[in-house]
Amino acid sequence: MKDLDLTSELVPGLKLKNPVMPASGTYDYGDGANAFNPSLLGAIVTKSVSAFPRSGNAPPRIHETPCGILNAVGIPSEGVEAFRRNTLPGLKQYNTALIVSVAGETPEDFAQVISCLEEENGIGAYELNFSCPNLGDGIPFGTNPELLYLAVKQIRKVASRPLIVKLSPNVVDIKLMARQAQDAGADILTVANTLTGMAIDVRRRQPVLGNIFGGLSGPAIKPVALRMVWEVAGAVDIPVIGVGGITDTTDALEFIMAGARAIQVGTANFANPKVMLEIIEGIESYMEENGFTRLADIVGLARR
């Protein structure tokens, strides 16, 4: 076991000890509730932080669907100032890469959050959440190729650290979005966020969620997310982090074999708070049993 190399160097200076990390907004750090030490993760990823405090959507915010959940949380955030003061110090204590997820409605919002965080040390990368279907009304720029390019370019200017762009799956051509992000200066891509969905309560004769629409996550969307990871990994040269419905080691291996150099686990944390640890161990066992020594040996294996 000691010869196994699970590290994944996403970009110079951002080398993960293993390829498993939580998906933004789905995992809590360090208040005793944790089922294992977050320092064991390949990275920790924060809930998306916005420039100013936001309260999020009216409840109900969660609804279970077949093999999935709809969430209409709507990115509540303490705002970047409070985040720096209250939350960040705790997160820096873990002995692993720290990725701060950033949300906003305009490129300026993102730039503002990042400018503020640039003064901090101990942050490994920013993940730009361009894909939240719960924010605002218009088509978010996460689904328009030109706007995406311009947004990344503008944000790139203020960010000295690696930029991860988290893409929305609610698009025609994810490859195009990925190339736009790469061309505008993204270092890494996370593929993908939630699919927009809804549910109706037939008894009450109205939409279930307070916000009507929500983001669909969980095993239900895995085939779609995996397809997008496959497409993007073939379309860009920068690393891809795969996310969407990963619930066990086999799921994680599917994403890695499709070309993902790291994976995120979201919804699956709720039912099994130890699932990320199990997946790290599962990848190790898989590599050992199949004679692989480096994680890189299995990245993109199904494409060859």
Binding site: G25, T26, Y27, D28, D31, A33, A35, K47, S55, G56, A58, P59, P60, R61, I62, H63, E64, P66, C67, G68, I69, N71, V73, P76, G218, P219, T247, T267, N269, F270, A271, N272, P273, K274
Partner: protein, 263 residues
Amino acid sequence: MYVKGKIIEQRKLRSEYNILIIEQAEIARKARPGQFIMLQAWERGDIVLPRPFSLYRILPAKGQLHILYKIRGKATLEMSRRIPGEEVKLIGPLGNGADLPETGNIALLGRGIGAAPLMAIAETAYNRGLVVYTFLSARKRELIPGVVDFTRYSSKVVLSTDDGEENEGRLLTVLLEELITKEGIKIKTVFTCGSKRLAQGLLPMETKYNFRAYVLLEEVMACGIGSCKGCVCKVRTPGTPEGHAYKRVCKDGPVFPASEVIW
């Protein structure tokens, strides 16, 4: 804490209620009344989320937890199929729990399955020497669970059913008011669960009779531990621009001062 538990007993009550008795010593030792657990008593299948259940009884000496539950949908149906010896997974104990006064009388007002968390409060209060008055309502008599147990821990158990069989279906708040005014009983703290109308009915009584009313809220939960921000309720919060904020039922609650909740 994410742990395994073993089913000791699956007890069918009348109607759609069941009691699940789980052996889980660690949680039983740590838990306080008013807290809850996230339970998974089924294999993955199409159910993605664990489900929150109040602790109906906490038996640290036996290392047991009792869950009183109602069969509502697919998760609770699966739950009702588990048999003694089978394993379940639990996250808990979760939530703030109920703060009992040091001394004095407390009243519990529950509707239907809302009685579940009140039992643990009754038992704990009784054991600490507080005097407990319990008021329970439902559509009909058989939908009021645990009356025998409540009687053990309460000085008085008052029932009311919509069909009029018990107390002509009168409001529990009115019956509480009668206890206070007619029998001259002083109440220090009230806990209520299971009905928005009940909680709202208590509000004008708080200052009038000088008690503090707390409500145990429910909201759909994903994580149960505060990370997903899914389970919020609107709570009066001085100092915020709007004067209110969303609080997480799972972590900031489930027990809230009734007067602070914005329905």
